[in-house]
Amino acid sequence: MGNPHSHGAQCSHDAPQKHGQEECPDNGHDESKRDFIFISAASMAAVGTGVVAWPFVATLGPAKDTLALSTTEIDLSPIQEGQAVTVMWRGKPVFIRRRTAQDIELARKVDGDATAFNSLRDKQKDTDRVKQSTFGGKEMPQWLVMVGVCTHLGCVPMGQKPTDMRGDFDGWFCPCHGSHYDSAGRIRKGPAPHNLAVPTYTFLSENRIRIG
């Protein structure tokens, strides 16, 4: 294909007009046949490469056993008011905090105040970040369950231990690049783009949740 000189003298592909139909009677016909074979072979090769490449790419995704580990159950009864625990879920820390009335009030004050709410980077009400569904007739705003991974570049923020820094908004503080989260886990200051993620979880009973 690449070298017209090899076909040169008899049937030049470069200059069919000059040599005309007499010298190369089959030229036009031949060429379209070759083009067809060339194009179809090339497209089959492209499709084939893609088909073979896909499994290679797919092996790198999460494997079935990794996916199978994706639920965890937690007993909440030992957690006292104002206390927080960190559990492991999918290799990541999950923060569970039993918030005090003050924590809740602080977070809900933002919900109520239009200017404060509009200044949030990732606008979300505290009521949307906790489970509102009732169990045994009780509301559960005290339980805040979040993936303890800073939405900036993935560090684990501080604020779980009583001695930790909690940042300017009395929630969590990520030391890596200085992100401050409030008592609802919402980003208030620093480079993180989103609030701390709330994982899917369900209350199995009043004191038991399943994450995932």
Partner: protein, 423 residues
């Protein structure tokens, strides 16, 4: 290299026999023996050879380490400690590899700034330069993944922060990160693939180095005057002149390297990496290896969201912005040959460029220091100023210099310049 090369007589029948069938000796003779090389190299021209030696050292030491290493989150930390304590001379090989990475980067950074000062990236060496930047990128990927292997705290959190950079990509970012990890966090699948890639990439680097040198031997070397050799008087054969000079430079470099290995093996490392990785606790202050610090400072310097005015729609979040700037800083080097179009190569004859070169070097070093500091207060401000100056150098200063700088007169030829200096 074509079939019609006249066979050289090496005076040894075995070598002649081989060379006739596979002219490797002729090639070596041509490219490293008689290869005409500008006669005025200074010591900065040693760093290419030094980098090459470092690559060999890394491959040799890495190969031995790999024979003792196991990639498994439960084992890796202990296995590396075993290399340090139980394997005969394991400590030596590991310290050679650990400090070798730093020394390799030192050599390559000097090599790059040499190129910047003497305009070695200019026509006809653009592709040579681009291959070099590609080597730098591959080295960064290799070193980053190697640092994850001992599975200490810095390994784990460095890997977490850097892989999370990709989550800044709009829409598909999170999917990509999960794919990179092979799970929902940096974990065993991540470690095993990093080991496989860490083993592979140095050999890819070797391949690109080969192309880099092949391109060099087409254009020939640049030199401190930045003018092309015009006659035999301007050049000397590579061997023995530069084989010996390179050997000398390599020896001095290796002495410094050995001083680190034997007397301060952990000086360039971080003590937190001797704590086993713990996914539940981030060390209070994450810093990458020193050779990444300037880029890390650039990454963190972007602290505001760019929004469409009067709406909340964020076009570039501070996270994405930082990532774009960081990759952009390397992209600058790729397009440099087209940003600096001044026909004069060497900064010796470009009084203004020379000043800006030193400023640029100072900016890069300052960024390095800022990358090691916590991202707050004055450090953030300095990082931002330096990041601005970094990009300004490429995008504003260089194009303006092309227009307004008056270069000094160039000497007629290399040997005349040398003779004039001698007088």
């Amino acid at each position: 290299m074509a079939g019609n090369t006249t066979p050289t007589d090496f005076g040894n029948p075995v070598i002649n026999w081989i060379d006739k069938r596979l002219p490797v000796f002729t090639m070596m003779q041509k490219e490293y023996g008689v290869f005409p090389t500008p006669r005025n190299f200074n010591y900065l021209w040693n760093f290419g050879a030094i980098a090459m030696v470092m690559l060999m050292v890394m491959i040799a030491s890495g190969l031995v380490l790999a024979m003792h290493y196991t990639a498994d989150t439960k084992l890796s930390f202990n296995v590396v400690e075993r290399i340090m304590r139980d394997v005969d001379y394991g400590w030596l090989v590991r310290y050679i590899h650990m400090n070798g990475a730093s020394m390799f980067f030192i050599a390559v950074y000097v090599h790059i700034f040499r190129g910047l000062y003497y305009g070695s990236y200019k026509q006809p060496r653009e592709l040579l330069w681009i291959l070099g930047v590609l080597i730098l990128l591959l080295m960064m990927a290799t070193a980053f993944m190697g640092y994850v292997l001992p599975w200490g705290q810095m390994s784990f959190w460095g890997a977490t922060v850097i892989t999370n950079l990709f989550s800044a990509i709009p829409l598909i970012g999170d999917t990509i990160v999960t794919w990179l990890w092979g799970g929902f966090s940096v974990d065993n699948p991540t470690l095993t693939r990093f080991f496989a890639l860490h083993f592979l990439l140095p050999f890819v680097i070797l391949g690109v180095v080969f192309l880099h040198i092949a391109a060099l031997h087409v254009s020939g070397s640049n030199n401190p005057l930045g003018i092309e050799p015009k006659s035999d008087k301007d050049t000397v054969p590579f061997s023995p002149y530069y084989t010996v000079k390179d050997l000398f430079g390599v020896c001095v470099f290796l002495i410094i390297y050995a001083a680190f290995v034997f007397y301060a093996p952990n000086y360039m490392g971080h003590p937190d990496n001797y704590t086993p990785a713990n996914p539940m606790v981030t060390p209070p202050h994450i810093v990458p290896e020193w050779y990444f610090l300037p880029f890390y400072a650039i990454l963190r310097s972007f602290t505001i969201d760019i929004v469409i005015p009067f709406t909340d729609i964020i076009i570039i979040s501070s996270k994405l912005g930082g990532v774009l700037l960081m990759f952009g800083s390397i992209a600058m080097m790729f397009i440099l040959p087209w940003l600096d179009t001044s026909p004069v190569r060497s900064a010796r004859f470009r009084p203004l460029y020379q000043k800006f070169f030193w400023l640029h070097l100072a900016v890069c070093i300052t960024l390095g220091f800022m990358g090691a500091k916590p991202p707050e207060g004055i450090y953030t401000v300095i990082s931002q100023i330096c990041t601005f100056l970094y990009f300004a150098h490429y995008l504003i200063v260089l194009p303006l210099l092309n227009k307004y700088e008056k270069p000094l007169p160039l000497p007629p030829s290399i040997h005349e310049a040398i003779l004039a200096q001698k007088k």
